[in-house]
């Protein structure tokens, strides 16, 4: 199904896509979001707007998306299952669509234990796969989650999901990705990749099952600022694998920030040659300003234009 998503047009016409991530602020001003949107707008095809990432209260992802649109950049609204029941999810997504949002990324969301409201009541009324399935049905069959018909103006999102090749059980990861595709995901963004070998094995299994022909896979990368950041991801974030040589390389570097950017560019160049990968998703957590340089030096600039 064709949507009005520019990202979809680009991917469908065979371009290697570049997406990035903008984390909304912990306050009520859009100044920073707009600044980043202007900075990224010519370098990426769309940006994810995280939805209270790590369960920290932040400016709403839908409100942020409107600011991003206003700056001439295409947003991908993230929607977690943690904070809303099916009534709120549908209502928010109808609202997002009415405001011009065309890309949606469905995910379960980090547990509230990690955020600044650890005593919150979570929701998890539906899970991410159910969300993908229900949104796809809402668009293609014009049915609300309940099965009641949507009489007119169904939301026509380009629907995405996430995959983590580094979580366990590893053998089930590709099957779970396939399950998301079955449910209706049309593009996939992966967890940030540091362990290239494991990612290559993952993609091999993806190709064996022909999944790359049914969905657009965007590989996640993250430029690291220091060896401590690498160590933190290695030891304290579950579902991440950071090989020791990445940590070592940053430790030995004279200018670790430069080195972090170099590593990221090398990774992108490598990823571009992996069959079945259709783009990169750059998650420069609180370091958005390096994205243009990374895109440019990875040979991905200028971005193609689509009508």
């Amino acid at each position: 199904m064709k949507t009005e998503s520019k990202l979809q047009k680009l991917l469908d016409s065979g371009h290697f896509a570049v997406t990035a991530e903008i984390g909304p602020p912990k306050h009520a001003s859009a100044h920073g979001i707009r600044h980043h949107a202007h900075m990224l707008k010519d370098y990426v095809d769309a940006t994810n707007i995280t939805d209270c990432q790590t369960a920290i209260v932040r400016l709403s992802s839908i409100a942020s998306a409107v600011h991003i649109l206003d700056c001439g950049l295409e947003p991908i609204v993230q929607m977690t299952c943690r904070d809303r029941n099916r009534i709120a999810i549908q209502s928010d997504l109808l609202g997002a669509y009415s405001l011009g949002v065309r890309n949606l990324l469905c995910l379960s969301g980090d547990h509230q234990k990690f955020g600044n409201e650890p005593s919150a009541k979570n929701v998890y009324d539906i899970d991410s796969i159910q969300l993908i399935y229900l949104m796809r049905r809402m668009r293609d069959e014009k049915l609300f989650f309940s099965g009641e018909p949507i009489k007119e103006h169904e939301p026509r999102f380009f629907i995405g999901a996430v995959a983590n090749p580094f979580a366990d059980p590893f053998e089930f990861r590709v099957a779970r990705l396939e399950k998301k595709v079955e449910a209706g995901a049309e593009f996939i963004q992966t967890q940030c990749i540091f362990d290239m070998e494991r990612f290559e094995r993952f993609m091999e299994m993806v190709r064996e099952r022909g999944i790359h022909e049914r969905v657009h896979i965007l590989a996640g990368v993250t430029p690291l600022k220091s060896w401590r950041a690498a160590k933190y991801l290695q030891t304290s974030v579950s579902g991440m694998i950071v090989p020791d040589d990445v940590v070592e390389r940053l430790k030995k570097a004279e200018d670790p920030k430069r080195e972090g950017i170099e590593i990221c560019i090398e990774q992108i160049k490598h990823i571009r040659n992996i069959p079945g990968v259709h783009g990169v998703h750059i998650m420069a957590i609180a370091w958005e300003e390096v994205v243009p340089e990374i895109v440019e030096r990875s040979g991905l600039f200028p971005r193609p234009k689509v009508e």
């Binding site: 099916r86 379960s108 547990h111 234990k113 009324d125 159910q130 979580a167 079955e182």
Partner: protein, 223 residues
């Protein structure tokens, strides 16, 4: 069974701070098995409260009783004579017991001595773990006999999420990932393909979300 844990004694003491005489009621059901509200715990709590109050120079008189079950009206009846001259009743049962006593003796101050926690069982001596979330529509046949609603931190029905690593849940290295357990069990059963089916959203109206529930067995009703 229901697992409960006694509240800190200072919290219990605070709830009856202005009482001179209280009745402590234990329960011989679940809370006896999980060692938090049986006869022994009731006696220990009574004497601790008395000692505490004596040290404060404000002695407390206690009466104790252990009901066969506090979640059955017939066993509450037996308290009739005991509640008459006390200022409050401290129930050591789960929340059901506290409510049953409060309902039966509606002009009496009744307080909970326990935090009613979950439905589970013991996994080792002195360790109890949650196993069921009382959802009203059991799906254990689809998940290898392991409950994702309560044992997965996000109640995912199509797991495992991206936070599952080394068999543990993203929330803590002390928590098993329910979906890893489900995967392992389904593998042993040769039923991994079952996990590829998309599980539909749950009907939570059969759970607490549909309002307070009632179970009726007309065949055993009297009158």
């Amino acid at each position: 069974m229901i697992i409960a844990q006694q509240k800190p004694i200072k919290d219990i003491a605070a709830m009856i701070a202005d009482c001179k005489k209280v009745l402590l009621v234990g329960c011989a059901g679940c809370v006896t098995v999980c060692l938090s509200g049986g006869e022994k715990e009731t006696e220990v709590l009574a004497s601790s409260l008395r000692i505490m109050r004596r040290l404060q120079g404000n002695p407390l008189e206690t009466v104790t009783y252990t009901a066969t079950r506090q979640c059955d009206p017939e066993y509450i009846e037996a308290l009739e004579n005991l509640v008459k001259d006390v200022d409050a009743v401290v129930s050591l049962a789960c929340g059901v017991g506290v409510q049953y006593i409060a309902e039966r003796f509606h002009d009496k101050w009744v307080v909970p001595a326990q935090n009613t926690m979950f439905v589970g069982g013991s996994t080792a001596h002195g360790v109890w773990e949650e196993r069921c979330g009382l959802c009203g529509d059991c799906i254990l046949h689809r998940t290898g006999g392991i409950c994702p609603i309560i044992r997965c931190s996000k109640s995912i029905l199509n797991g495992p999420c991206g936070g599952s690593q080394y068999g543990k849940c993203e929330i803590s290295k002390d928590v098993d990932c329910a979906w890893q357990l489900i995967y392992d069990r389904m593998k042993v059963l040769g039923k991994l393909d079952k996990l590829l089916e998309i599980q539909p959203p749950k009907d939570w109206s059969k759970s607490r979300d549909g309002g307070p529930r009632k179970a009726i067995r007309e065949d055993v009703m009297i009158g």
